[in-house]
């Protein structure tokens, strides 16, 4: 978690230093959800989430270097520079991104679950969306089909209580997101700031969806940063609210205190870990900065898996690009 925290804070600095462009959505505050989840899942299970995806990518085994390199549009990045902040993938670990369109990842996630069921491979799919996304109609459509077909799908609402500048109660008549399956699907709520609770919830959920069909897991969590880099994050909520959560519910502090209270780690050990992580992150930043931009020819790769020798048009009529066959 500390690694994810440092990574996001460094991304913030890099953005402000104009090393990163476009949209960039940070995850600090919410780390326990990804860490707890990954403690309960296998990489043979599938995960898909929204644009706020840096931590999910690392949770699936991606490196911090790959995150920074992607943010800087480098070829060493998670998506070799073509995706950017919102679109990181780790196909070999069944991580399907990194989705920019609010709500769209939810049916996609149900489809991942359908594939696991179809093959009978024992895998489950986790499809993660925000409290703002939770009103999207395609989510209800997905609930219904997932329930009709008993898909092994865990629908995870990461409720950080705001969708951009809109508080949950202004977006949802019923902001108890774990009940939004109505008669269609059961749900449960979990303290998303408590990594151990999250792990437990996912362990239960995985078992449940394999045996009984889909389930909603609502994670009560909080984002410290603004929605994205252009949002100071303090016009629609009070600074007191933010600092209160930091003081009382921070997921990293909670673990630190648990370790200390139970005598599981000396403060010096933790400090050493922190130092090590800082070193790793700083090294990753340097490596990312040193990494190459994609070659210009990459503009024309990956349009299709089978480009069939197609002729594409460049910017000018004089530029016709023949793709490989």
């Amino acid at each position: 978690m500390y690694r994810l925290r440092r990574m996001e804070i460094s991304a913030d600095m890099l953005y402000k230093a104009k090393q990163i462009r476009g949209f960039c959505h940070l995850y600090d505050g919410q780390e326990a959800v990804v860490v707890g989840m990954e403690a309960a899942l296998e990489q043979s299970d599938s995960v898909i989430t929204s644009y706020r995806d840096h931590a999910h990518f690392v949770g699936r085994g991606g490196t911090v270097l790959e995150v920074f390199a992607e943010l800087m549009g480098r070829v060493e990045g998670a998506s070799k520079g073509k995706g950017g902040s919102m679109h990181m993938y780790r196909r070999q670990a069944n991580f399907f991104g990194g989705q920019g369109i609010v709500g769209a990842q939810v049916p996609l996630g149900a489809g991942l679950a359908l594939a696991h069921q179809f093959r009978g491979d024992g895998g489950v799919a986790v499809t993660m969306y925000g409290d703002g996304a939770a009103q999207q109609g395609q989510i209800f459509e997905s609930f219904n089909m997932a329930a009709l077909w008993d898909l092994p799908c865990i629908f995870v609402c990461e409720n950080n209580h705001y969708g951009m500048g809109t508080a949950e109660w202004r977006a949802a008549k019923s902001p108890a997101f774990y009940t939004r399956g109505g008669d269609t699907m059961p749900g449960m709520s979990c303290d998303g700031m408590d990594v151990l609770a999250v792990k437990q919830a996912f362990a239960f959920a995985k078992q449940y969806v394999l045996e009984k069909g889909p389930l909603i897991l609502e994670m009560d969590t909080y984002r410290y940063h603004g929605h994205s880099m252009s949002d100071p994050g303090s016009t629609y909520r009070t600074r007191d609210e933010i600092s209160g959560i930091r003081a009382k519910r921070d997921p990293i502090e909670r673990v630190r205190q648990l370790l200390a209270a139970n005598g599981l780690a000396e403060s010096s050990e933790l400090k050493a870990i922190e130092r090590e992580v800082k070193g790793e992150i700083d090294g990753a930043i340097d490596d990312a900065k040193a990494a190459r931009l994609p070659a210009d020819e990459e503009l024309w790769t990956n349009i299709w898996r089978a480009p069939l020798g197609a002729t594409m048009r460049g910017i000018e009529s004089s530029h016709k690009q023949r793709l490989p066959s």
Partner: protein
């Protein structure tokens, strides 16, 4: 032998399902009802409910589910009862299916077919008559196919199902029951029509008639009539709208020096406008007449029979345009 488009599509799916067990079909009424237009007849009985899935009327959701299943390695065939309803799901087709291979620099693939009836049917008015050929074929990352006859329907659909990329497959309701002659070769289990290649249906020397789907039939009819008037028309069946076969269009126009595009969709930024542009870009100096387009009239489709007829191209329009272009 003769084969209807319905049987061509049905047999293509049947054989590909037999060949590859990751292929499955989903959509409204595709299973127990055997398809609103009976294209999936018998498949539930043969392959069971795991591989022939009735969905609720939730296009956005089931399209997204199909795309997710394709990401994870299955090969879904998603049937839209008609493509008009694909507008509810177009975000999933474009933003999810078409763009992921690129955004992930090749990590994520999406082998899926979206198929169903496209364009005008008969007497179904404005909301059920739209042609989506131009929209989908504008999107890099999609492949867009439109069969004309049973050979196309069989060979292109089999190619689409085997293709590793998302394919939009535009059928025509009015042609479903139409029988076309097919060769022995077409009946082969491994008969596929190459994606991205147009086909010369009839060779000619005075003008090239470019079309896709049902309009290829009109163009063939027009070519016959024109022959009686001493005009030799070449008929090009695009088959693929994305990628579009620029080379074949250019080669034909270089030969005939004239080109007319025929489609049922709306004119503005339609397929015809692209055909004209390709002709201009590739062979301006070869042209003996300005390239032209015959299109649907620029109106929402009216219901009344006389108005509907007045909104759609006919063989006569093609003949008249050609004669004008030939200065006759």
């Amino acid at each position: 032998t003769q084969m209807t488009i319905r049987d061509a599509l049905n047999s293509a799916m049947d054989e590909e399902m037999a060949r590859d067990e990751t292929v499955f079909i989903m959509g409204e009424e595709v299973a127990e009802y055997q398809g609103a237009y009976k294209i999936t007849r018998g498949l539930l009985q043969k392959y069971g409910p795991k591989r022939v899935k009735d969905t609720p009327i939730t296009e956005a959701g089931f399209t997204g589910i199909g795309v997710g299943a394709a990401f994870q390695g299955l090969r879904p065939i998603v049937e839209f009862m008609t493509f008009n309803f694909s507008m509810q799901a177009i975000d999933q087709i474009v933003n999810s299916a078409a763009k992921h291979h690129y955004m992930s620099s090749g990590a994520v693939t999406c082998p899926i077919v979206f198929r169903g009836a496209n364009g005008a049917a008969a007497g179904v008015a404005a909301q059920h008559s739209q042609c989506f050929a131009a929209w989908y074929s504008s999107v890099p990352g999609l492949k867009v196919l439109a069969p004309y006859d049973s050979e196309d329907a069989r060979g292109l659909l089999k190619a689409a199902i085997r293709d590793p990329d998302p394919v939009v497959f535009l059928e025509n309701e009015i042609l479903y029951g139409e029988p076309f002659p097919v060769d022995e070769a077409v009946l082969d289990k491994d008969f596929v029509v190459p994606i991205g290649k147009a086909k010369i249906m009839r060779s000619g020397s005075d003008i090239t008639l470019v079309g896709f789907g049902k309009m290829v039939g009109y163009n063939l009819k027009a070519a016959e009539l024109l022959e009686q008037e001493g005009i030799s028309a070449e008929v090009l069946n695009l088959r693929s709208l994305k990628p579009i076969d620029r080379d074949a269009i250019a080669a034909s126009v270089r030969k005939t020096h004239r080109v007319l595009s025929v489609e049922e969709g709306w004119p503005q930024s339609g397929v015809g406008s692209e055909i004209i542009s390709i002709a201009i870009e590739e062979c301006f100096d070869d042209l003996d007449a300005p390239p032209e387009r015959v299109t649907g009239a620029e109106v929402p489709m009216p219901y009344a029979q006389n108005l509907e007829a007045a909104a759609l191209p006919t063989v006569e329009h093609v003949v008249a345009a050609v004669k004008r272009m030939m200065g006759k």
